[in-house]
Symmetry: C2
C-alpha cells in the first residue's frame, strides 16, 4: 500500500463522551473537559481534531459522543471562536464505556469503507508535537493494514500511579519499526509497583490511543464479546439503537478486547503527551515557576511551593501552601493536597447528592452567538449579563413563564418584539412581556452587552420556544 | 466609696480604631473587625458596649476612633439591626497607637468629671461571661479609686505566642482581692518560652483591658511621655487637634507607660476571653466538630481535620485538609496553614500594593437604610442590587457623572425624580438621568429589592450630592 492509499482508508474516531469530573470546578456536565481550553485558547477537542488534519481531515473524523453532549459539541465546533470544524458524529443513546463506542464506530466505518483503518483517540488528551504524532500514526497504520491491533505506549518518565501500563514483549519480527508484541496489560499500579516498572524498563503507559482496521476490531468483538457483537449487528441492520445499546455490557476496550486478543502490538511513543487525568497533570503541561508553583489569575501568594493555584477574576490569597491544589471559579472553589487530586471525582458526586447545581453548570454559559453570565438569582427573578458577538443574533423565541427587561450596557441592540423592530441604544431599556415573540440582534461590528432582568415563577433555560435560529438548534 | 458613687464615677473608653486585618477577607477597611458579627448576630463592638451596660450605660461609654471609621461606627450603632446604641465619640484625626488615644480620652473624661475612673477596653474582643466580667470591673474600680493602675491578666490555658504576658509579683497588701503587683510585662514570646511561662506559673496573658483614674493616667503620661502630655494639654486648651496629634509619638500604653510606671497591679481574670487576634481564635470560640473542624457555609468536605473552613453562598470543596484555614467570600478567598494565620496581615499589605480594592471593600456594603451588592462592573457601567429595609429611604441626592436605571425585583418603590413622585411596581423600571435630584423610598412593610444599572464615565460612591438624609449623613 502506498501512502495515498493509506490516507484514503484512514479515519479517526474521537471518544468524546466523558465529563472529566476530576477537573471540577472547571469541568462540569455542561462544560465537559474536552471543551475546556486548558493550555492555549483552543479546547482539547478542537486541538485533537486539528492535530490530525494534515493526515486525516475533519470530514473523516467521527466524534463518538452521547445525546447529552452531542449538541454542545456541535455548537462548540461550528460556532465558537476560531475556524468552524465539521466532523461526523456518532451519537450513543447512553454511555457504555469504550468497547461498545468503538464497536459502533467500527460498524459505521466498515459501511463507509470496508477497508477502513480507524485511529481511536480520546478527546481530552494533550499531545505536544503534532508532526511526530502524525508520523507515529502513519507507522501504526502500516501495521494496522496488516491486521495487527496497534496501541501506543508512552515512555514513562515518573512512577505514575494514575495510568495503566503495557508490558512490551518481543520485537515484531521482520518490521523495521520499533514495534513490539504486547506481553500484557497492567492495571493502575500502587506506588511501589510503579517504581519497579520504571526501574525494570519495558513498561509503558497505556495512552488510550489505538489503531486497527474496522473489520478486524469487529472480528475481535465477535470473538470476545459475542453479545455485544450481536447487538451491534442489530444496529447495523437498522434496529432501534437505544434498545440495542441499553443491553450492552459497559466495559472498556482494554478489558473487553485487548487483554484477551492475540495480536496486539505496541509502538513506543515519545511525543509529549498528557492524559490530563487530574489537576496534577497541570504541572506536566504548564511550566512551574522557581518555587515549583503554577499560579494563574489575581493571586497574592506568600511563600507557597510546588502548588497549583488557579484563580479567576476574584482575588485568591495563599500563604505557605505545599503540594496543594487550589482552583477558584466564580461560583466554586476546590482545595486539596496534590496526592488527593483523584478524589475530586468524589467531590462531584457529593455535590450531586447535596443537590448543588455547581456540579453541572457554570455561571457563565457559552452560546454560539456569544455568552451569558448569571449575576444573581432569587425567588421570582434572575439577572443575566448577555454578550452578543458582532453581527450575531439569538433565536427568534418566546417564553411562556417569564418576562424580560433589557438594558443596553454597550453597543446597540436591534430588538424584535412582536411585530415591531427597534434599535435600543446605550443606557436604554425595553420590556419583553410573557408570551411575546422576540429576538435580540447585534447589528454592529462591536460586541453588544445587555443586562437582562427576568421575572416570573419559572426561570429555567428550558422555558423557550424557538421559531427561527441561525445555529440549527431545535425549533418548534 | 459606696457602690453608687463608684457607678457615678465609672466610665468606659472603647478603643475602636483598628481594622483587624488578620481577619481579612472578612475584615476590610470599610468593614473593620469590630463591626463584624463573628459569634452571633451582634457585632463585636455592639457586644462590647452591651456587655458593659448594666454597670456602665452607653451614654457613659466613649468610643475612641479615627476619622475614617467614625461615621461607619455611628451608622452601625444607630441604624443597623437591633436596638440603637448611642455612645459618645472621641475622634482621632489619625491613628497614633493606644497611648495618645487613651491620653485624649483621659483629658475628655477629666473635664467631664475630675474623679472619673476609666475602664479601657478593646472594641474587638470576645468575652463570654458578662456578669463575671462586670464583677471584675467593680473589683478593679475599687483599686483604681485608690490610685492604682489596674490591668487584667488572663489565666493562660495554652502556650500562646500571639499575646504579650504579665508576670505577677507580690500580692497586694491589705487587699481582700486576689490582685498582685505587676513584676514585669513580657513581649510576645517564642513557643519554647511560652511553654515555660505556662509550666512555671505566675504568668498571665495581657488582656489589653485596663482601669484607672483619668487624672492618674495623665500624671503618668506627664512623667513618662512629657512631649505627648504637652500636646494633650494643648488639645485640652482648645488648640487644633490635628496639628497637636500629628506630632505625637505612636506608641502603645503598655510600652509608653505600663512598663515604666511604679504602681501597676493585676487582677487575674478567669472569664471566657479571646482577643480574636487571628483566624485561629475561631477554634477557641466556636466548638469544632468531631474531626476538629469548624465548617460553615455550602461546604463539601472529604476527610479534612483540625481545619477552619468558612464558606459563603459559593460552593467550597475541600479534600484532606489538615490544620488549614480557608475563608471564602464572594470576591476573595484565603487559604493558609493555621501556623501562618498571623501573616494574613501581610497579605492585606500585598493586596494594597497590587492595587486590588479587595483589601478595602466588600462587594456588599451595609447602609443605614439596608445594603447594596455590586454584581458586576466594567468600563462605563456598574450593576448593583439594592435592598431597602421596610419603611426606609435613601437620601435625596443627585449624581453629576452617572445616570441610573432601576428595575424593581421585589416590593414597590416610591421614587422621587425631579419634582415628580411615582410608585414603581414589580418588574417596572425608571430612569434617573444625570444631574436629576432623586430619592428611592420603600413605603411598604416588606423589603424592597431593586436592580440598579449605573452608566457614566465615573461610577464611584463619592459622586453624590445629598440634600436631605434620614441618617444625619453629610449634606450639601
Amino acid at each position: 500500500m502506498n501512502n495515498n492509499k493509506r490516507a484514503v482508508d484512514l479515519y479517526a474516531v474521537i471518544l468524546a463522551g466523558g465529563i472529566g469530573s476530576r477537573f471540577w470546578p472547571l469541568s462540569r456536565a455542561t462544560t465537559p473537559k474536552q471543551l475546556l481550553s486548558v493550555v492555549d485558547d483552543e479546547s482539547l477537542l478542537k486541538g485533537t481534531i486539528k492535530r490530525l488534519s494534515p493526515l486525516i481531515p475533519p470530514e473523516k473524523v467521527h466524534v463518538v459522543t452521547n445525546a447529552d453532549q452531542a449538541e454542545l459539541i456541535r455548537l462548540h465546533l461550528c460556532y465558537e471562536e476560531g475556524e468552524p470544524l465539521c466532523p461526523e458524529y456518532i451519537v450513543e443513546p447512553m454511555g457504555r464505556n469504550t468497547a461498545p463506542a468503538i464497536g459502533l464506530a467500527a460498524i459505521r466505518l466498515a459501511e463507509i469503507n470496508p477497508e477502513a483503518i480507524m485511529a481511536v483517540l480520546p478527546a481530552d488528551h494533550i499531545i505536544g508535537e503534532g508532526e511526530k504524532f502524525r508520523a507515529h500514526l502513519i507507522k501504526a497504520s502500516k501495521l494496522a493494514e496488516k491486521g495487527h491491533l496497534v496501541t501506543f505506549g508512552i515512555v514513562p518518565t515518573t512512577p505514575e500511579t494514575g495510568y495503566g501500563y503495557i508490558k512490551a514483549g518481543d520485537k515484531l519480527a521482520g518490521e523495521e519499526t520499533s514495534a513490539s508484541h504486547v506481553e500484557r496489560f497492567v492495571e493502575k499500579p500502587d506506588k511501589q509497583r510503579a517504581e519497579s516498572y520504571l526501574s525494570d524498563g519495558g513498561y509503558y503507559w497505556n495512552s488510550g490511543i489505538f489503531l486497527w482496521k474496522a473489520k478486524r476490531i469487529l472480528e475481535e468483538i465477535k470473538l470476545h464479546m459475542p453479545l455485544t457483537f450481536q447487538r451491534l449487528m442489530e444496529i447495523g441492520d437498522g434496529e432501534d439503537i437505544t434498545g440495542s445499546y441499553e443491553g450492552m455490557e459497559p466495559i472498556s476496550i482494554d478489558k473487553g478486547i485487548l487483554e484477551k486478543a492475540e495480536d496486539v502490538v505496541m509502538i513506543p511513543a515519545d511525543f509529549a503527551w498528557s492524559d490530563m487525568g487530574s489537576w496534577n497533570s497541570f504541572g506536566e503541561i504548564l511550566g512551574p515557576d522557581r518555587s515549583g508553583n503554577i499560579i494563574k489569575g489575581r493571586v497574592v501568594d506568600l511563600g507557597s511551593s510546588d502548588s497549583v493555584i488557579l484563580g479567576c477574576d476574584r482575588v485568591v490569597a495563599t500563604i505557605g501552601l505545599k503540594d496543594m491544589i487550589l482552583v477558584d471559579t466564580p461560583d466554586a472553589t476546590l482545595v486539596c493536597p496534590k496526592d488527593r487530586a483523584q478524589d475530586v471525582k468524589a467531590v462531584v458526586e457529593a455535590l450531586k447528592e447535596k443537590g448543588f447545581t455547581e456540579h453541572a453548570e457554570h455561571r457563565t454559559a457559552r452560546r454560539p452567538w456569544g455568552y451569558y453570565t448569571v449575576l444573581e438569582s432569587g425567588p421570582g427573578y434572575k439577572i443575566k449579563k448577555i454578550v452578543v458577538k458582532p453581527g450575531q443574533r439569538l433565536s427568534l423565541q418566546l417564553h411562556h413563564k417569564r418576562s424580560e427587561h433589557w438594558v443596553v450596557l454597550k453597543g446597540r441592540a436591534k430588538v424584535r418584539r412582536g411585530d415591531e423592530v427597534r434599535i435600543v441604544s446605550l443606557n436604554e431599556s425595553i420590556d419583553i412581556p410573557i408570551g411575546v415573540k422576540h429576538r435580540l440582534d447585534n447589528p454592529d461590528d462591536t460586541p453588544l452587552e445587555v443586562i437582562e432582568v427576568q421575572s416570573g415563577g419559572y426561570l429555567e433555560e428550558d422555558d423557550i420556544v424557538r421559531f427561527d435560529d441561525d445555529f440549527q438548534r431545535e425549533i418548534t
